[in-house]
Subunit: 804 residues, 2 copies
C-alpha cells in the first residue's frame, strides 16, 4: 500500500528551495510533537537524553500527528502564495500536539500565551504542559489557537467546517477528516453538506480525507477498499477527489503542493464563476477534495521490539513506552528525535530558523490567529424587531387561543429581515420548520437547496437561510460551526429526537465551559433550541416520539452554561425568544408546543414573569389572605392548562379552599442560588412555595427532575410532582395527561389526598373525579376524540362560572 | 422525473396472470391502508361514503405506504418462487398502516390477533384501531407481526437488518430504506456493514432504497442528485444497484419482478460461491441492492385543491383532510377508495379473493410469521463457563490488584468458546475491545473483517465474532438486530461516548416495554453494556471524555427495563457479567474501570453482595456495636477506593469513631421497592443507612442521581453525596477525584464537617487533610504524577497500620 509511485507528473512542482524549507518546517513540527509527548526537559536535545528528561506518565497520540503537520505546512504555502483566508478544522482530535506545534512554529501560540515564547525556555514549557496535570489536554481543545473543533468525540469536523463556511464568502475552511472519524454516522452524512453550500454567498470547504489506515487497534474501512471504490464513493458524494499517496517525503511534498494548488484553483474558479455568471451559479458545483494516504506515525520508529510500528496501528498512541525500565526504548526515542536534526531547525536560542518562519503566513493570515476561529471577535449583536407588534392580545386570561410556535415564527421572520444585511442569522432543523409552525419565516427566505429544483417546489432556493436536512447531527454541527465563527442561529427540533444529539450537546457545553476560562477567547452567541412537537402532543406518533429527557441531560452540565425555559403561552415564548437571541456562551433550551392553546399573560405580564423566572399567578389563585391551603405549581404549556383546569374545578366545588397558582417559566429558578445564577434564594423560594403546605406540581417532563432541583428546599418533603412517566401511545394530548396522571381530574384528586382542608370535605368531589376519568376512558375509546367538555373547556376567572 | 421509460427489456417478466394477481394484491394493500387512515365504518364501501364513516381525528402517513406494499408484494413473489426465508425491515416507520395491511392480507395479522379476522367485521376493527385511542400506533411498532424495527426514529433500519442477518445463513433480510432516513448519519454509515457480512456464515441483506422524493415538506437529497452520481455513491459503498424507476403500475410490476429475480439470483450465486469455493469467499462480494424510484403517495389523489399531491410532499401525511367541513374532499376520498375497485379485491364476506391469497407465501414463510422476527421464539440460553476458574483470589481485602475488565475479558472468551457451536454470541464495540482490556477474547476469535487483510494484521478474520466499527450507532444497531432475532451479545463502550446512542437506547427500551405487553412476542436476550474507560480514568483524554450521565438517561425509562451495576472489583464484575448474560427483555448497564485496582471481595462474598445489591462491608467498618456515627457509602470502583482510603485515615486518627461502610453494586436497590423490583423496602434501607446518621456517599456519577433515587427515604436529609461535578481535565484518576472533591481527604473533611462526634475532635485532622490537599496540588504539578503515598496506598484492616 505504501511506496506507491506518484501517479501524476508532479515531481517538480516546488523549487528545490521551497521543497527544502517546507520539509524543514515539517520536521520541526514533528520534532515539537514528539517533544510534547515525551520530554520534560532537554528540549533542544543538546545533551544526551536521560530518563530524567522524560515525563513519568507518558500520554498522547503520535499516529495522526505527522499527517496533520504535513497538511498544515502545505496549507501555509497556499495561504501565502494565494493570500488565502483560511482556517484549519482538525478532525483527528488527538492530533492536539501537532496543532500546538504548528501554531507555535508560526508564532500564534506565543501571541496567545506570552509565557511560552519561541526560545529554549518556551519550548521546555511547551513540552512540559502537554497532558500534564494543570497543563493542556491532548486534543485541539479551546486552548489551541485557531481551533473551533476539539475533536475528542469524533464525527463532527465536516459539519463544523461547513457551518463555518456559510455566509463567509472569503473564507476557505480546510478540514482534515481522519479515516477513523469517517466511519461515524454523523461524518458519513456530513459529506452531503455540499448540497447546501452556495458558492456565490458562502465560502468553501476543502475536505482532506486522511487515510492513515488505522484506528486504535484496527484498520479503517476506507483505507481497505479498492481505490476505484473509494473514488466512486466520493464522486457519488459530489466531490472531485485528488489523490496524494505515498510515504517518501520529498515525493509527497511535490504531490501535496500540486494537489493543493489544483484544489485551490478549482475552488477559485467555482467561486469566480458563481459570482459572475448566474447560469454557472445555478448549478451545484463539484467541489475538489484531497485524499491523503500516508503512513500512520509517519517518520516515527519503523519497528519497535521487532514489531511493525510506522504505518501500523502500533503508532496510534505511543510507539515507545516504559522508558524507565527499558534503556533500549530510551535510545530509540533519542534516535527518533535526532532524526529530525533539531540543530538545523532551531537557532542557538531555540527559535525556529528563518527558513522555517519564511514558510508561514503572517499576522491574521496565520491559521492560529485567524479571527474566524475566535468567532466572538467578529460577533455583532443581532438587531431585534419590535416585540410588541408580535404579541397576542390577551384582554382576560384564557379568552383567546394561539399557536405559540406560530407566533414565534412570525417574530423569527422579522429577526431574519432585520439582519438580512449582515447575513449572520440562520435557522436549522431536520425538515420540520413548517411542521413546527415556524412557516412564516418562508415569507422572507427559503430553505437552502443547491441540489436540483423542480417547478413545483415551494420555498426552496440557493439563497435560503433555513437549513433543513434529515440529520439532527448535521443540523447541530452546522449551527455549532456557524456560532463558533461569530454568527447567530436557532435549532428547532422534535423534543424526543433532540436526544440524537445528546453527545454533541455535551461536547459543545464542555467547549463553552472551557472557553470561558481562556482570556483570549471572545464570547460566542448562545446555542438556542426550540423543542416542540413535544411529549404531550404526539397524536400522530405515539410512544416512540415521547421523551422529555433532554432537559435531564442538559442539567448535568455546568449550571451557568445551561438555561431551560418552559413558556406557558405565546407571549412568554416571545419574551424568551427575544432574550435568548441576545445571550452568549450559553445553551438555551425552550420547550413549547404548537397546537392552539389558551393564552394567559399579556406581553407586559409575560416580560415580568420571564424576568422573575417563576411567580404566583394571583389572577388564577383563590387566596383569601394568609397562607394558601395548597400550592398548585406548573411548568410547561400542557401542565399549565391542566393545572388551571383543576383550579377551576376546585373553585367551583371547593370555593373555600385557598389555592395558590405558581407558574415556572425558567426551570433554573428552582435551583438553590448557590447552584445556579438564576436560582431563587431560600427565602424567596419559601415565600412562593411556603415552608409547610402541600405543593402539587404539574411538570412537563420526568417528575424526578423537579425533585432533583428542589431537594434542598425547606418544603421539599411536601412536593408532589406529576409528570411524564413513560406512559404513552398514539392518542390525544388530554388522554396522554390522563395516562400519566397529570390531568385536571388527577390533580384535583391529589389535592383531596394531600391537603387536609380538602380531604375533610372532598369525598364527593373525589367520586366525581373518578367518574370523570371513567367517562373519559369510555368516551375516547368510543369516539376517538375527547369529550366535548374537554374540547370546549374554558378558563373562568369567576369562580361561579360553569365548570365541566 | 416520473414517467421514465424502463431502461431494461423487462416488459414481459411476469405472465399476464401473475401480473394481474400481483396488481390485485397491491390494490388491496393500498385500499386497506387508506381505510385504516380514514375509515371508522363502511369498510367495504358497499354504501355511499358518509362523514360518519370517517374518523373524527385523521392521523397517519399515506406517502410512503404504496411503495412499501409494492415491495411487499414482490418480496412475497420471490419467497414463493424461491422458497426464500425472508423478513422485512421497514425503515419508513410511518408506513405502519402498510405493514399492517400486508400482514392482514397474508393472514398473519389474524393469526396474531384472532379478534381481527379477514372478513367485513375484522376489516372494520382493523380500520378503527389504527391511530385510535387504545388502538395501534402509526409505525411498524412491536404490535405489527413480522416487525423487528419500529422506525419511529429514523436511521437504524439497515444496521438492524445486518444484525439480523449475522449468523443466520439461510435468512434474507429485505430492508426498505426511505430517502428521508437515508439522510441520517447512522444510516449513511450503515451501508458499510457489507464489510462485516460473511457470505459463508451469515445471511444476506437486500437493501431497497426507496426514492419517493420527499420528506414532510422538502425534497430528499438522494432523489435530487444526478442518477450517475447516485449510482456512483452506491458503487462506492460496495453495492451493485439495480434501478426500478417509473410510475405506471403495469410497467413497474414487470421491472420490479425482474429486479427482484436478478437480486435474488445474485445473492444465491454469492452464497453458493462462498460456501463451496474458498477463494471466492475470501473476497468481499459486491452485493446487489435495489433503488426504487416511485411517486410519493403513488395511486393517491393526483391533485387536491389545484395543488400537486401524488408525487409530491403533500402526500406525506394526509392528502385529504377537514372532511367534515369539505364535502369535496369527502367525495375525493370516496373516489380514491373506489379507484382500487374493492369489489374485485374482497369477496362477499370481505375476505381477500383467492387470486390475492394465491400471491402470498404460506405458514412461517409469511413475513409476518417468520420466527426470526419474533426472535424470542428462537432464543436459547447461553451456556455459561465456570465462574470460579476466573475469579481473583482475595485472601484479605485490598491485598491484591487486578484489572477488572481484563478478568471479565477472559470470562467472555470462555463464553465465546462455550457457545461456538450455536453461533449466537457476539461482542460489539467501536474499536475498543482491546483498549478496554477484553483482549483475551482474541485468543479464541477474531475481529470480523471482510475488507482487505494485510500480512501484518492481527486478530482480523472473516469468521471473527468481535464486531468493531468506529460508529457507536452501527454497533448498537447491529446488536439490537442480533438480539431481536433471538441471539445474545455484549456492547463495550467508552462511558462518555455511549451518549452517542442515547436515543437508540430510548427506542430500544420503549420497544421492550411495549413488547412485554404483547402476548405473542417472546422475550429476547437483554442488551448488555460495559461502560469503561470511565470518567475517573481519563489520564489520556481529559474533559471531553468525562461524562457519567448515561445512567441518568437510562433511569428515565420504565424501571423494570433498566438495571445499572457498579461493581467495585473484579469478582463483583464477574458475578454481574454472568448474571446479565442470562437475563431477558432488559437493558443492563455495567460500569467498570480497566486499570489495576485493589480487590476487595472473594467470589463467594461477591455473589452474596451482588444478590443483595448493596450491603454493609463489616470488614471495613469500625462499628463497635449499636448505630454507627457515620455511614460511608460508595458506588463505583474509584469511589470505593477513595472511601476505603478515607476510612483508613479515620481509623488511624479517630479510632473511636464508629464508621459503617456500605457499598452499592446494584444502583436500583436504592429506589423504593414500589418503584423498582430491585428496590429495598424502607425498613431494609433504614437498617443499612440508619434513620438519622450522616451518610457520606461517594458516587461514580453526577451526585444528584443519588438524591433522585433516595429522596423519599427516611434519612435522605442526611445524605451528602459526592460525585462528578464536571470538573475535569487530562490528569490522574486521583487528581480527578480531588478536583471533584470525592477524594479521601475531602471525604474525611466531610465526616468532620457533618458528624457531631468527629467535629468535636476533628480540628487537627481537618488541618492535616487541607495540608495534604495543598501538598498534592503542588506535587502533581511539579512531578506530573501522584505523590508516592497515593501511588503506594494500601488498605490496612488493622487500624494501627500505617496510613498516609
Amino acid at each position: 500500500m505504501m511506496n506507491i509511485a506518484p501517479a501524476r507528473d508532479t515531481t517538480s512542482h516546488l523549487s528545490a528551495q521551497e521543497l527544502g524549507n517546507i520539509d524543514l518546517y515539517w520536521r520541526a513540527a514533528n520534532y515539537l510533537t514528539v517533544g510534547q509527548i515525551y520530554l520534560l526537559d532537554n528540549p533542544l536535545l543538546r545533551k544526551p537524553l536521560k530518563i530524567e528528561h522524560v515525563k513519568p506518565r507518558l500520554l498522547g497520540h503520535w499516529g495522526t500527528s505527522p499527517g496533520l503537520s504535513f497538511t498544515y505546512a502545505h496549507l501555509n504555502r497556499v495561504i501565502r502564495t494565494m493570500d488565502a483566508n483560511m482556517i484549519y478544522v482538525c478532525g483527528p482530535g488527538h492530533g492536539g500536539p501537532a496543532m500546538v506545534a504548528n501554531t507555535y512554529l508560526e508564532g500564534s501560540y506565543s501571541a496567545r500565551y506570552p509565557g511560552i515564547l519561541r526560545n529554549e525556555d518556551g519550548m521546555r514549557k511547551l513540552f512540559r504542559q502537554f497532558s500534564f496535570p494543570g497543563g493542556i489536554p491532548s486534543h485541539a481543545a479551546p486552548d489551541v489557537p485557531g481551533s473551533i473543533h476539539e475533536g475528542g468525540e469524533l464525527g463532527y469536523s465536516l459539519s463544523h467546517a461547513f457551518g463555518a463556511a456559510f455566509d463567509n464568502p472569503d473564507l476557505i475552511v480546510a478540514c482534515v477528516v481522519g479515516d477513523g472519524e469517517a466511519e461515524t454516522g454523523p461524518l458519513a452524512t456530513a459529506w452531503h453538506s455540499n448540497k447546501f453550500l452556495n458558492p456565490q454567498r458562502d465560502g468553501a470547504v476543502l475536505p482532506i480525507l486522511h487515510l492513515n489506515g488505522y484506528k486504535i487497534a484496527n484498520p479503517t474501512i476506507l483505507a481497505r477498499i479498492p481505490k476505484e471504490e473509494l473514488r466512486s464513493l466520493f464522486v457519488g458524494y459530489g466531490y472531485e477527489p485528488i489523490f496524494v499517496e505515498g510515504d517518501i517525503p520529498v515525493l509527497m511534498h511535490q504531490l501535496m503542493a500540486s494537489a493543493m494548488d489544483e484544489a485551490m484553483q478549482k475552488i477559485r474558479a467555482i467561486q469566480e464563476n458563481a459570482r459572475h455568471d448566474y447560469d454557472a451559479y445555478a448549478a451545484r458545483p463539484t467541489w475538489p477534495m484531497i485524499i491523503l494516504r500516508s503512513p500512520k506515525g509517519w517518520t516515527g520508529p519503523k519497528e519497535v521490539d521487532g514489531l511493525k510500528t510506522e504505518g501500523f496501528w502500533r503508532s496510534h498512541q505511543l510507539p515507545l513506552s516504559g522508558l524507565a525500565d527499558n534503556p533500549k526504548h530510551l535510545k530509540l526515542l533519542e534516535d527518533w528525535l535526532h532524526s529530525y536534526r533539531p540543530e538545523e531547525l532551531f537557532d542557538a536560542k531555540g527559535a525556529p530558523v528563518a527558513a522555517i518562519t519564511a514558510t508561514t503566513p503572517q499576522g491574521a493570515r496565520r491559521m492560529g490567529c485567524n479571527p474566524h476561529a475566535n468567532g466572538g471577535l467578529l460577533r455583532t449583536m443581532l438587531k431585534m424587531p419590535d416585540l410588541a407588534s408580535h404579541s397576542v392580545e390577551v384582554l382576560e386570561p384564557g379568552t383567546v387561543k394561539a399557536e405559540s410556535t406560530k407566533v414565534m415564527g412570525a417574530f423569527l421572520r422579522d429577526v431574519m429581515t432585520a439582519n438580512v444585511d449582515t447575513r449572520n442569522f440562520r435557522i436549522v432543523g431536520p425538515d420540520e420548520t413548517a411542521s413546527n409552525r415556524l412557516q412564516n419565516v418562508f415569507e422572507v427566505t427559503d430553505r437552502t437547496w443547491m441540489a436540483s429544483i423542480l417547478p413545483e417546489d415551494t420555498n426552496l432556493g440557493h439563497n435560503g437561510r433555513v437549513m433543513e436536512i434529515l440529520s439532527e447531527h448535521t443540523c447541530q454541527g452546522w449551527l455549532e460551526g456557524y456560532l463558533l465563527t461569530g454568527r447567530h442561529g436557532f435549532f428547532s427540533c422534535y423534543e424526543a429526537f433532540v436526544h440524537i444529539v445528546d453527545s454533541m450537546f455535551n461536547q459543545h457545553a464542555k467547549w463553552l465551559d472551557t472557553s470561558r476560562d481562556i482570556p483570549w477567547r471572545q464570547p460566542i452567541a448562545s446555542l438556542n433550541y426550540l423543542l416542540t412537537s413535544h411529549v404531550w402532543h404526539q397524536d400522530h406518533n405515539g410512544f416512540s416520539h415521547q421523551d422529555p429527557g433532554f432537559i435531564d441531560v442538559a442539567l448535568n452540565k455546568k449550571a451557568d452554561i445551561v438555561r431551560v425555559y418552559l413558556p406557558p403561552d405565546a407571549n412568554t415564548l416571545l419574551c424568551t425568544t427575544e432574550h435568548v437571541l441576545q445571550t452568549w456562551d450559553r445553551i438555551n433550551i425552550i420547550v413549547a408546543g404548537k397546537p392552539p392553546l389558551w393564552q394567559w399573560l399579556t406581553l407586559e405580564q409575560a416580560k415580568i414573569h420571564c424576568r422573575e423566572g417563576l411567580g404566583v399567578w394571583h389572577w388564577a389563585s383563590t387566596e383569601n389572605g394568609g397562607e394558601p391551603d395548597v400550592v398548585m405549581a406548573c411548568a410547561g404549556d400542557v401542565p399549565t392548562l391542566e393545572t388551571l383546569a383543576a383550579v377551576s374545578i376546585l373553585k367551583e366545588h371547593m370555593p373555600e379552599l385557598n389555592v395558590r397558582v405558581v407558574n415556572v417559566v425558567d426551570l433554573m429558578s428552582l435551583q438553590p442560588k448557590e447552584r445556579h445564577p438564576h436560582g431563587l434564594s431560600d427565602a424567596a423560594f419559601d415565600a412562593v412555595f411556603t415552608d409547610s403546605k402541600p405543593v402539587i406540581f404539574a411538570y412537563h417532563g420526568y417528575p424526578w427532575t423537579i425533585h432533583r432541583l428542589t431537594y434542598r428546599r425547606t418544603n421539599h418533603d411536601n412536593f408532589h410532582v406529576r409528570g411524564y412517566n413513560e406512559e404513552g401511545t398514539t392518542t390525544t394530548a388530554f388522554d396522554m395527561t390522563v395516562l400519566n396522571e397529570l390531568d385536571r381530574y388527577h390533580l384535583v384528586l391529589s389535592v383531596i389526598d394531600k391537603v387536609p382542608a380538602a380531604r375533610a370535605s372532598g369525598a364527593k368531589l373525589a367520586e366525581m373525579m373518578k367518574a370523570k376519568l371513567l367517562e373519559h376512558h369510555d368516551y375516547i375509546r368510543a369516539h376517538g376524540e375527547d369529550m366535548p367538555e374537554i374540547l370546549n373547556w374554558k378558563w373562568h376567572s369567576n369562580a361561579s362560572g360553569e365548570v365541566g
